[in-house]
Structures are given as structure tokens and as C-alpha cells.
């Protein structure tokens, strides 16, 4: 009898071309996404005078540097214009399809891939961006790589990897109303730590994960990297197949049915062993916000920030002091007493249609006490939101409705949080200076960002949802 396998083992085996005695495996890459930041790698190809090996499996997007305001045809900032032009030239030169600024399908790479049906169950997906783990939501083995590896994949369509230890994170039970995938994943990271899954490939399992939509699973897998994981995935199921059916690049008709039959076996066998297990009950998860400068600094909204004076461990106390000082928060302060200056809804973590609907459900008929920006994950999502009237809700609340891109998550397209300003944000990293030098970021779900906007301070969204359809 064959040894029971995890989904991770199955995906690995399908892509292994060479397995060396030293533990290195050469893996086949099914999809490779490139963006403006991939210029280092294209430069390496130019140095060697070689072409992209599999342009048909390589797709480009313009997302990191694209403006969300003002003209996108004629970008005012010459440095941003140069970055966008560079990815246009690099992809054109190698015959790689680009979802550029003139394409209605443009958007954030980790939104566009699933949306276009380019990311499928059973695929191995790489991109020179750490949040490539997002694509695991569809049952793909997806991970971020550095520029040298991007160049290697462009040249050979393969990548060297060592098989990672396997970790299963099981979330059983049912999440309470108002609790989103973002709350689940922040709760996980708060428990296991920012390095709790380092080097591991994660399978997310359990009834609370099954209950998530594909959008929710994308949020969950997106943040795997914030626990240090190589990749995170959810086994494909009927929810996945229903999401993929009819997507432009997904198989069609009979080919789709055949693919579904194969994808259906992509699950962990009963009794398969993981190297590490972590369990959480969804019913214990409250809306979560971060207070510090690492995603592991996350607490339920009714909590207070730590007090370094009460921390027995010196190193930990010193970390807490530094984080609180940077964040401008007094020790022991209640989270709900922290006023915000600005909100941001967007990024590869939370910019899909469900995210926008969740925020709009809170904001409808209400005003934001602070300025803010909403940037849909793709131009198609932006259009859909406008058809649903969500843009009106955001604008009426006083928020800005921008174009699609990475925007204020990484702050390199000109969308910045000012030094010392505090931003309630649906993004993935509350690192020092992430949203701009001196910026203070609190991570939370789209509904919680909307609640912070309405209250003017960090706030529990649940009372605001009373009597509303969500």
C-alpha cells in the first residue's frame, strides 16, 4: 500500500524533475508572474544574451509602481513612468503577455492571476514577490522568490528547492458574524509568531477554512508569509471549482470537467503525517488589529496594548518599548482608545469584491471621520464595484476611490502615509516605515477599517453591523 500523502507531497511529486542525493530538487514551474520589480532579473538575461524559455507560461502585470490617482496614460512622475515603461519593454521584448495600464484586466498580480483563471489547482506558481503564497488558496503550490531565482525561472522554467517540512493549521468550528479571513489569519500569526511557520509549507484545513469563499482563502494564504511560511494552501473543493469555471484562462468545457476530476484528488490522505500541527477554534476568534511593528503583534479589539514594565523578559520588554515608541502608543492603552488619522482599503490581501462589499456594508449611510483611499485589486473589480454602487458608498462616506495597484501597501507609487500618521489598513505588513517613512500601520479586516473610519479610532465593527445585511 502506498504511504498516505499530504497535498504538499502530491504537489511536490508532480513537479519534481530531478531529485539529487544532496536533497535539492529541480521543480517545473507552471506559472511565472513578473512585474515592474522584475527588472533585475530581465537585466541578468540581457547580460547573458538569452531569451525567456517559456513566454507562454510567463505573465506580466504593472502593479507596484502604478499611480492610483491622476493620469495613467501619461504618468506625471518620471520615475514611476520609467518603471512602468521598463516592464512594458521587458515583456514585449520576450513575447510575454502583459496586463499593462492600457489593459482592462490590469491589477495587482496576486489578484489578477486567480481572477483570470491563470492560477489553477495543482500548479506550481512563482513570482518575485513574497505574497505569491496567495495563489495557494486555489490548491496551487505558490511561493515568492528573489531576483536571481526569477532570472533562473525565466531562463529555464525550473527552480531548485529543498523539500520543506509540512505544517497543518486546522481551524475548526464556525466563525462568528463579522469575523473575516483576515481575523483568522491574524489570530494564527499572533499565536504561532512571525517565524512560527518558517521554511514550512502550510496546508490550511478545518471547517472554518472550508466555509471561506475563495476570496477569503486568498486573504488567508496571502498572509502565510507573515508567519514565515514558504507557502500556504487550501485543498481545492467545490467552492474552488465553482470560482474557476468560466474564467478566461481556465480550461473550458470537457477539458474543465477532466481537470476537475483530477483536481478532486488533490487532498491530504487520511493518516498522512505533518511535521508540525497547529489548531485553533474559530468560535474563539474576535476581530483582530495589530498594535506594533510586526504582524505577530496582534490582539483582539477589546484588549489593551502590552506594558513593557510588566514584561518579565528583558529582551521582550525592550522590543515592546521600541515598538510602542515607534507607534506612538502609551503602554497599556486600550486599543479602542487609539485614534487614527487615515484609512486604506486595498492590497493583494484585501482588495477583492467581497472585501469592498464588507467595508461598504459598514460605511453605507455613514461618514468617515478621517480621510482615506480605496483601491480595488484589479480594474475589473473596480468596474464591478462601480456597477454595484460601492464606489458611491465610499465617496459619500468621504473616501477617495482610486485606480488599481499595490498603492499604499508598499508606498512606492506615491501613495504614502505621512510621517507620524496612523493608518488603519487592510494590508499585510505593519513594519516600520512600510507605508512611508515614519508611518504607523494597524492591520485589520476591511470591515474593521471601515469601523475605524466611522469611529475615528480603532473600533469593534460588530455593533456597527447590527441590523445590516452582511
Amino acid at each position: 500500500m502506498n504511504r498516505p500523502q499530504t497535498i504538499i507531497d502530491k504537489l511536490w511529486a508532480t513537479h519534481e524533475i530531478v531529485c539529487r542525493d544532496d536533497g535539492q530538487s529541480l521543480l517545473w514551474v507552471d506559472r511565472h508572474y513578473v512585474h515592474e520589480g522584475s527588472f533585475h532579473a530581465f537585466g541578468k538575461l540581457a547580460e547573458r544574451g538569452v531569451k525567456v524559455a517559456e513566454p507562454g507560461l510567463t505573465f506580466g502585470v504593472a502593479d507596484h509602481y502604478v499611480p492610483t490617482r491622476g493620469s495613467r496614460r501619461d504618468i506625471a512622475n518620471p520615475e514611476l513612468a520609467r518603471m512602468v515603461r521598463q516592464v512594458e519593454e521587458n515583456t514585449a521584448q520576450h513575447g510575454v503577455k502583459l496586463f499593462g495600464l492600457d489593459d482592462p484586466r490590469q491589477g495587482i498580480v496576486h489578484v489578477v492571476g486567480p481572477e483570470q483563471g491563470l492560477t489553477l489547482p495543482g500548479l506550481l506558481v512563482v513570482c518575485g514577490d513574497s505574497h505569491t503564497s496567495t495563489h495557494g488558496a486555489l490548491g496551487a503550490y505558490a511561493f515568492g522568490i528573489g531576483a536571481s531565482e526569477v532570472a533562473h525561472v525565466l531562463m529555464t522554467q525550473t527552480i531548485w528547492q529543498k523539500k520543506p517540512p509540512r505544517m497543518r493549521i486546522t481551524v475548526d468550528g464556525r466563525a462568528a458574524p463579522g469575523i473575516a479571513a483576515k481575523d483568522i489569519v491574524l489570530a494564527i500569526i499572533a499565536h504561532v509568531g512571525a517565524d512560527g511557520a518558517t521554511r514550512h509549507a502550510i496546508e490550511f484545513a478545518g471547517s472554518a477554512i472550508r466555509d471561506l469563499s475563495v476570496e477569503g482563502r486568498l486573504t488567508l494564504c496571502n498572509m502565510s508569509i507573515e508567519a514565515g511560511a514558504r507557502c500556504g494552501m487550501v485543498a481545492p473543493d467545490e467552492t474552488t471549482f465553482a470560482y474557476l469555471k468560466g474564467r478566461p484562462y481556465a480550461p473550458k468545457g470537457e477539458a474543465f470537467e477532466k481537470a476537475v476530476a483530477e483536481w478532486s484528488s488533490l487532498m491530504t490522505d487520511a493518516d498522512a503525517q505533518f511535521d508540525k500541527e497547529f489548531r485553533l477554534d474559530a468560535k474563539n476568534i474576535a476581530p483582530i488589529v495589530t498594535w506594533g511593528t510586526s504582524p505577530e503583534d496582534a490582539l483582539p479589539i477589546d484588549a489593551s496594548v502590552p506594558d513593557p514594565a510588566r514584561e518579565p523578559d528583558d529582551a521582550r520588554a525592550s522590543y515592546l518599548r521600541g515598538a510602542l515608541e515607534y507607534m506612538g502608543i502609551a503602554p497599556g492603552r486600550r486599543l479602542t482608545d487609539i485614534a487614527v488619522d487615515r484609512v486604506f482599503i486595498g492590497s493583494c490581501t484585501n482588495s477583492r469584491i467581497e472585501d469592498l462589499r464588507a467595508a461598504a456594508a459598514v460605511l453605507a449611510g455613514r461618514k468617515s471621520k478621517v480621510p482615506g483611499l480605496v483601491s480595488a485589486g484589479s480594474t475589473l473589480i473596480k468596474l464591478q464595484a462601480e456597477q454595484e454602487g460601492l464606489d458611491r458608498i465610499f465617496r459619500d462616506a468621504g473616501l477617495e476611490w482610486g485606480e488599481s495597484g499595490c498603492s499604499m501597501c508598499v508606498g512606492i507609487n506615491g501613495d504614502l502615509v505621512a510621517p507620524g500618521e496612523r493608518c488603519a489598513s487592510t494590508t499585510n505588513r505593519n513594519f516600520r516605515g512600510r507605508q512611508g517613512p515614519g508611518a504607523r500601520t494597524h492591520l485589520m479586516s476591511p470591515a474593521m477599517v471601515a469601523a475605524a473610519a466611522v469611529a475615528g479610532h480603532l473600533a469593534d465593527v460588530r455593533p456597527l453591523l447590527a441590523g445590516r445585511k452582511v
Binding site: W28, P251, A315
Partner: protein
């Protein structure tokens, strides 16, 4: 890629857990090419305040550690963004080795691609080395990859590193040459895989 065998030099302790690649190289420098001098902006926002004035308390600004070849970090060094330019910044500043209890996965992979050694010690050992350097800032540290040892004052520590990565650094090997030697295997895989997983190729967009 340059080989790494043995190195003696100043070692700068930066005792911050989860020191992410945004701190090593802030995102606004990601559009820089390496030739623009990316080493100059290593740890930019930790080294300088908002007015561009040096922060004297940041370790690498202290005279003994200004030309450090080694950085001693805390757990999860280099977590976060996949930006390989964080490694370029360290390397081009002159750093050839980081010593820490654990690393961001993508960062340590990028380091190997560029000849930067990421040596793994225990939390206690990293804390001990950091304490020794804080007591005697100009204490030279020797890192020997052949022996997998770190000599710091009168103490010698064993460090760990993945054996494949160790061989690559010792020999200055680059991936592409190795991959090229498997060209036939790749072609054969592609052919059989196309037959077995026809759905894995993107359907034509119509």
C-alpha cells in the same frame, strides 16, 4: 559569484527580532539598480532620522562597527519582502556574513545566490556574541565556513548551515550551470507532463 571560505572582521550586533527587509532596504530604493550604489542606503531609516541626521545609537553608526563585515542579528532576520536588493545592500556595504538564530526563508535563499553567508546559531549563542561585542566593540570575529565555526574572543561556536548551501558558497557555484546539465531531463519532463496535465497550460484567451 564570489566564494566564501573564511573571514575575520568587525562584527556589528543588531539585536532586533523580526528585522525585516523593509528595514534593511526601504522600498523607495527598490527602483535603484545596483550600480547606483545601493550599499549607501543600507538600513537607511534606522541609520538616519527624518532630517537625514545620523542616529548615533544605531549600532552600525558606531565607530567600531562602521566597517563591519559581519552582522549579528536576532531571530527571523530578513523576514518579509522578497527583495533581493536587501542582500545587495548588505553585500555592497561590505557585509559578507550574518549570524542569527533564524532567517526569513526568501532572504536566506537570496543571500546564498549572492555569496552572503547566513550562519545559524542558537538564540542563547546569538545573545552571548551580542553581549561580548557590546562589552568589547572592536573584538574581531572569525567565521570559518569549512569548519563551520565562529571564533569570538576566547569562545568558539559551531554554526549550522544547509550542506548544499555550504558547498555552493565554498565553491562559488551558480545555479544556472547546474541546471543546464539537466537540460535533457527538463525537456523529457516537459513532454510527458504536457500529456499528463494538459490543463496546466493556460487555455487561449478568446
Amino acid at each position: 559569484m564570489d566564494k566564501f571560505t573564511k573571514l575575520t572582521g568587525a562584527a556589528c550586533p543588531i539585536d532586533q527580532p523580526n528585522l525585516n527587509t523593509d528595514q534593511i532596504l526601504p522600498a523607495r530604493y527598490l527602483k535603484w539598480t545596483r550600480a547606483m550604489g545601493i550599499g549607501k542606503v543600507l538600513f537607511q531609516d534606522l541609520r538616519f532620522d527624518a532630517d537625514g541626521k545620523e542616529r548615533p545609537d544605531f549600532p552600525i553608526n558606531r565607530p567600531a562597527w562602521r566597517s563591519a563585515k559581519i552582522v549579528v542579528g536576532a531571530r527571523n532576520f530578513g523576514c518579509g519582502s522578497s527583495r533581493e536588493a536587501a542582500v545587495y545592500a548588505l553585500y555592497d556595504y561590505g557585509v559578507r556574513c550574518v549570524i542569527a538564530p533564524s532567517y526569513g526563508d526568501i532572504f536566506s535563499g537570496n543571500a546564498i545566490q549572492n555569496g552572503l553567508l547566513t550562519a545559524i546559531v542558537t538564540d542563547e549563542e546569538a545573545a552571548e556574541i551580542t553581549a561580548a561585542l557590546n562589552r568589547t566593540p572592536d573584538l574581531p570575529v572569525t567565521v570559518d565556513l569549512e569548519e563551520q565555526t565562529i571564533v569570538c574572543g576566547n569562545r568558539t561556536y559551531k554554526f549550522s548551515i544547509d550542506p548544499v548551501r555550504r558547498m555552493r558558497l565554498l565553491n562559488g557555484w551558480d545555479d544556472i550551470a547546474l541546471t543546464e546539465s539537466y537540460r535533457d531531463r527538463i525537456a523529457a519532463f516537459k513532454e510527458s507532463d504536457r500529456a499528463e496535465r494538459p490543463w496546466a497550460v493556460p487555455s487561449a484567451y478568446s
